[in-house]
C-alpha cells in the first residue's frame, strides 16, 4: 500500500464498505487459505471468511485501522472455524480426501502430499492446530498468537511444541 492510497485522507475516512473492499482485495485469499488449514474443507472455509468480513463491516467503526481490522478478521476466522468444527461433529471431522481423479498424473503426488498435511492437521487437538497454523502459516509472533487466541504466551509455547512433535512423523516422511 503506498501513500497514494491514502490521498483521500486517513484510513479513518474509509467507510465500512470501502474497508471491506480493500481488505478483501488484499487478504481474502490468504484468509481462506488460513481457514482451510483450520477446517479442511474449502467451501466451509470460504463461508467462514465471508462471515468474518460481514462481522468486520459491522465493527469497522471501532476498528478504524486496517491493521486492527486484519487482526480482527484473523481472530474471527479462527473463532468461527472452531465453531464450525464444533457443529460439524465427530462423524465428518475426518473430511473426505480431495478428489484426485481429474488431476493430471504428475500432480497426483503433489495433491496427495497436500491432502496428507491437511488431514494430519485435523488429527491434532484444536489448540495445537490453531497455534501451529498461526505460527507457521501466518508467521505471527508469540504475543500475537496469544492475543488472537486469548491464551497465555506460555500456553502458546507448549501447544506449539506439542503440535510440532505430533506433526514430526509427517515432516520426516511426508509421502507416506
Amino acid at each position: 500500500m503506498t501513500a497514494a492510497d491514502f490521498s483521500a485522507g486517513t484510513t479513518e475516512r474509509w467507510d465500512p464498505d470501502e474497508a471491506v473492499e480493500r481488505l478483501y482485495a488484499t487478504h481474502y485469499r490468504g484468509l481462506v487459505r488460513l481457514a482451510v488449514l483450520l477446517v479442511r474443507d474449502q467451501e466451509t472455509a470460504e463461508e467462514v471468511v465471508q462471515d468474518s468480513f460481514v462481522a468486520m463491516h459491522g465493527r469497522w467503526r471501532r476498528l478504524r485501522e486496517p491493521d486492527k481490522a486484519l487482526a480482527y478478521l484473523r481472530q474471527a476466522v479462527v473463532n468461527r472455524s472452531r465453531s464450525v468444527l464444533r457443529h460439524r461433529g465427530v462423524e465428518s471431522r475426518h473430511a473426505p480426501t480431495l478428489a484426485i481423479g481429474s488431476v493430471a498424473p504428475d500432480q497426483v503426488a503433489e495433491r496427495l502430499r497436500r491432502t496428507h498435511v491437511l488431514d494430519a492437521l485435523q488429527t491434532l487437538p484444536r489448540r495445537q492446530r490453531e497455534v501451529l497454523v498461526l505460527r507457521y502459516y501466518l508467521d505471527l509472533d508469540e504475543a500475537s498468537i496469544a492475543a488472537t487466541l486469548g491464551i497465555s504466551r506460555g500456553a502458546v509455547k507448549s501447544h506449539a511444541s506439542r503440535g510440532a512433535a505430533a506433526l514430526r512423523p509427517l515432516l520426516e516422511n511426508p509421502h507416506d
Partner: protein, 363 residues
C-alpha cells in the same frame, strides 16, 4: 504475512513450507459480491450511506418511518439487523478485566454463536444536592456485531431503569421504549438517530417533571449512545418514527449534544466496585469526582455504623478527576460511601455530594 520470523525458537522451515504448500492451490471463488450483498443497507429516504441499522425487531425497523432500512441478503440470521436480545448472557467469558472504554478485537470477537458479552456503559440519573445528575454503570450485555444494535441495547437498559445501584433511576416515563437506532456515519459529525415510543406523547413534559429532570433524561440517552460508540456523535430523536424538535419539553432539534460534564455528571462517582459487588478483604476503590481542594472522604458502614473511614485526594481539584484508595475489611456486607466534606460550612445548605455502593467482602 511475509515478515521474517524473528522468534528465538525459530521454527523448522519444513513445517512452514509444508503448511504453505498444503494450501498453495487453494483459489477461493470470488466472493466480494456475496459479502457486499450481506453488508449493504438500502436507504429509502437518503442517499447517505446508512451503514448500520438496528431495532428491537425487524418489524420495528419497518415501522420506523424516515429511517426505514432494507437489508438485502438471503440469510436473515446473518444480516446486520439485530433481531433483539435472542442470545442472553451465557456461560461465555465476560472479560470484566478488559478496559470497556477501549474495545479491542481481543475482547470482542465472537465465535459466531453469540455467547459473548461485553461491558457496556449505561448512564442513569441519581440525586445530588445540586439536583439530578448522571452516573455511569457498566452492564454486561450480549456482544452485538453491529454498533447500532449495541447502542440500542444500552439505551434500552438506560430507559428501562434497572440500574445495579438502587440510588439511581431512569429519567424516563414508564412504558417508554427504544424502537430503533440508526448510526448514519463514522465521524463525530454524523448523527445517531434514536427512535422512541411511549404511551404518552414523549415530546411533551409530563406534568410534575422538573426541568432538570427532563434535561437529565435526554442527556442519559446522549451520554449512553456516545459512551457505547466512544465518539461524540450528536443524537437525533424520533418519536414513533417522526423527527421531533422537543423531547419531554427539552429542545433536541436538530440534534442533541452532550452537556458539560461538570453540569451533567455526578460530582462524586464510585466507578469500581459497582453496587452489589463481591470484593476481597483488601480492595481498591476507584472513582472520579470534582472536589473542593481535591479532598475525597470515604466511610465504610456496617449496619449503619461507620466501621472505617479515611480520605484521599483526587488528582485535581474543582474538576472531574480520578481518585482511588484502598480499603481493608473483614468479610461481611457493607455500604461504601464516598463524599465531599461540606467545606462551605453548610452555606449551600444542601448537604454534600456523595455516592454509595453496597458491597460484600469475602475471603
Amino acid at each position: 504475512m511475509t515478515e521474517p520470523y524473528d522468534d528465538h525458537a525459530r521454527p523448522p522451515d519444513e513445517l512452514r513450507s509444508l503448511l504453505h504448500d498444503a494450501v498453495a492451490d487453494v483459489e477461493p471463488r470470488p466472493a466480494l459480491d456475496a459479502v457486499q450483498a450481506r453488508t449493504k443497507v438500502t436507504p429509502m429516504t437518503s442517499k447517505r450511506p446508512w451503514i448500520l441499522a438496528a431495532a428491537g425487531a425487524v418489524v420495528a425497523v419497518a415501522t420506523t418511518v424516515g429511517v426505514v432500512v432494507a437489508v438485502t441478503g438471503d440469510d436473515p440470521e446473518r444480516t446486520p439487523v439485530a433481531a433483539g436480545p435472542s442470545d442472553g448472557p451465557s456461560d461465555g467469558p465476560t472479560d470484566e478485566a478488559g478496559d470497556p472504554d477501549e474495545p479491542s478485537p481481543t475482547d470482542e470477537a465472537t465465535d459466531g454463536t453469540g455467547g459473548r458479552t461485553v461491558a457496556v456503559p449505561v448512564y442513569y440519573v441519581g440525586d445530588q444536592p445540586a439536583g439530578p445528575r448522571l452516573f455511569r454503570e457498566f452492564h454486561q450485555m450480549p456482544d452485538e456485531d453491529v454498533d447500532a444494535s449495541q447502542v440500542a441495547e444500552a439505551l434500552r437498559a438506560a430507559v428501562a431503569g434497572d440500574p445495579l445501584d438502587p440510588d439511581y433511576r431512569s429519567g424516563w416515563p414508564a412504558d417508554t421504549s427504544v424502537t430503533g437506532v440508526t448510526v448514519d456515519g463514522l465521524t463525530a459529525r454524523d448523527t445517531v438517530w434514536v427512535d422512541l415510543s411511549g404511551t404518552e406523547d414523549l415530546r411533551l413534559r409530563p406534568s410534575g417533571m422538573a426541568d432538570d429532570e427532563a434535561t437529565m433524561a435526554v442527556q442519559q440517552l446522549v451520554y449512553t449512545a456516545q459512551g457505547v460508540l466512544q465518539t461524540r456523535h450528536p443524537v437525533g430523536f424520533l418519536v414513533d418514527g417522526e423527527p421531533v424538535g422537543e423531547l419531554l419539553g427539552v429542545p433536541v432539534a436538530p440534534q442533541a449534544v452532550a452537556g458539560d460534564p461538570m453540569e451533567v455528571q455526578g460530582s462524586v462517582w464510585i466507578i469500581d466496585p459497582q453496587d452489589g459487588s463481591e470484593v476481597g478483604t483488601t480492595f481498591t476503590v476507584e472513582g472520579r469526582g470534582a472536589f473542593f481542594e481535591a479532598n475525597v472522604s470515604w466511610e465504610l458502614l456496617r449496619d449503619g455504623e461507620v466501621v472505617d473511614e479515611g480520605f484521599t485526594t483526587a488528582e485535581e481539584a474543582m474538576t472531574l478527576s480520578p481518585f482511588s484508595f484502598e480499603v481493608t475489611a473483614e468479610p461481611g456486607d457493607y455500604v461504601l460511601r464516598v463524599f465531599e466534606e461540606d467545606m462551605s460550612g453548610g452555606a449551600e445548605g444542601s448537604g454534600s455530594p456523595e455516592d454509595t455502593k453496597r458491597i460484600t467482602v469475602v475471603e
